[in-house]
């Protein structure tokens, strides 16, 4: 009798209540994990240099731009910022120029090794950059690409390319082949059909993919630190100087890096979901 009672199934509402608790604690934990550092970063970056040391923190940042102003006036920051932008733009252009045709080919043509190619594209991310950095540095020094923006942009392009290929693949797949075929029957050759029909439809997605490539380059620190000496990007520059600089400068620098990246990713989030096949349209 008693075993029968203990064996009885739990009331459904109890189970769902436990599940809900687990679900929401997971949600809260992940949010805190991601948002707390960003919050601390922002609140400190927007505090005056003296307030940075203070504790506890105010809930609302005091919006004192002293730290940021000091950071922007700090020797070398302006140049590093410019380098970061140039390298990121080069990365963006290169990864779209190379990645979009690959994405188009994957979505429109059937060829031997297509599945393997899709997998291998991702596999390039399986090699840790530190492992590749030394050989790359040696080769770069030999051919004179070391410490150049284009050299760094090439490395960043290899990092961004898998994503560019996969995002554009899903974007091109979103355009029915029938639309292109209709354009062919209406007098277009392949190039005209692409230009007049496919391109207008994929442009927002391609832009998103480009912004994502930009962000990857913008955030990348290891290759930048290894491959550049004079032409440091902002990440590499900060890594080099942060240990020696006062706390408020570190926060301001961190915020200058994180905030643009966050804004870019937020702007293109819809297309990043598309990359992993989560329905969004």
């Amino acid at each position: 009798m008693s075993t029968a009672v203990t064996d009885a199934p739990k009331i459904v509402s109890d189970v769902t209540r436990a599940g809900k608790l687990l679900y929401w604690s997971g949600v809260v934990l992940l949010c805190v994990w991601v948002l707390l550092p960003i919050y601390l970063l922002l609140i400190n970056a927007l505090s005056s240099p003296t307030e940075v040391q203070a504790f506890p923190k105010a809930a609302v940042p005091p919006f004192d731009l002293g730290s940021l102003r000091f950071f922007l006036g700090y020797a070398g920051v302006a140049q590093a910022l410019l380098n970061s932008i140039i390298v990121a733009v080069l990365t963006m252009v290169l990864s779209i120029l190379i990645g979009a045709p690959a994405g188009y080919a994957l979505s429109r043509f059937n060829f031997r090794g297509k599945g393997a190619f899709r997998l291998l594209v991702l596999m390039t991310r399986a090699f840790p950059l530190p492992l590749l950095a030394l050989p790359i540095a040696v080769v770069y020094i030999r051919i004179g690409l070391d410490d150049t923006r284009i050299g760094l942009a090439l490395v960043h392009t290899t990092l961004a390319l898998p994503f560019a290929v996969l995002i554009t693949f899903s974007i091109f797949s979103g355009v029915p082949a029938e639309l292109e075929e209709a354009a062919w029957t209406l007098g277009c050759n392949r190039l005209q059909a692409f230009w007049k029909v496919v391109l207008p439809l994929v442009l927002p997605g391609i832009t998103a993919s480009a912004i994502f490539a930009f962000t990857i380059s913008w955030n990348e620190v290891f290759a930048s630190a290894v491959l550049t000496v004079q032409n440091r990007t902002l990440t590499a520059f900060l890594l080099q100087t942060l240990n020696l600089s006062p706390l408020y400068l570190r926060y301001a620098g961190g915020a200058a890096l994180v905030v643009p990246a966050l804004m870019f990713i937020f702007a293109v989030r819809k297309y990043l979901f598309a990359m992993w096949g989560i329905a969004n349209r």
Partner: protein
Amino acid sequence: MAQITIKGVAKSFGAFKALHSIDLCIADQEFMVLLGASGCGKTTLLRIIAGLETPTEGEVWIGDRRVDHLPPRSRGIAMVFQNYAVFPHLTVFENIAFGLRMKKLPQSEITNRVQRAAELMHIEQLLRRYSGQLSGGQRQRVAVARALAMEPDVILMDEPLSNLDALLRLEMRAELKGVLAGSKTTTIYVTHDQVEAMSLADRISVMSGGRIVQADSPVEVYRNPAARFVGSFIGNPPMNFLPAKSVGSGQWQVAGMTFAGPDTAGSAIEFAIRPEDLAVAAGGFAAVTRVVEPLGAHTLVTAEVGGKPFRAVLDSDIAVRPGDALSLLPKPDRIRWFDPDTTLAIQGNSQ
């Protein structure tokens, strides 16, 4: 002049043979329907004519030009796709004008032609809209108007009505027939819907397993199926088949009755009759009624004759109930015979 000639066209996808050496001739201004179940190769054949697919073998001629090496844009065709393929980033006007702009026609001519095509398809009031603001039926109208505006030699249609709901399909079917008859273009129309095929076609090509089984007028395809497949595919309900045994000198015994049939050597052939060519009368097949379906205009009776299912379309005022015994008499001039080995029709009925 835009008659279409297809000579020995075959298509393989890897090891799969989608089309086996198709030969077909479509006359100028003819409305040809390619009819078959899905996977029979009808869409592949249409796409080969359009130039969207390259044949593995064979030749395609439109008018007096061989076109199988030409891209779609140089073939003088227009195509209507199953999913309409209306460009979502252009207005209805620009969609219809798309091909005309590619031809670099003067603006006044483009406006005229777009207007005319839009009026023909009754979408003048939608010209400023985008496809996202249109219903399925309206999109289909835009797609047809876009094809008509090109004033092509040939219009190719790939199941254009299959995505519309039943009532709209009926309406569009009648309208398409009127519009295309008026435009005097050669039309090839792919469908799996036999009613659509019967109602639209000048000629129907019934396809099965990558072959054309019969290409003939709708009535002929219906009345005189060239093969067992055609009889069992076309007609709702399809033809009834019963085994026939030779009793000598062109006489055949079928489920207890004897008919005069073809004078062939074989000892066993197949007897076929359409369900509506049966009447309740004395001296017919002894049938046992299994299911009775009153359909309003007539009553569909599924019975059993000689242990085989046998359907009859009867007058709706005949009272039949499951289990009743019926005597079903076939109209002698509507009896058809098939060779069970080749599945082809046996000609030379003594009827």
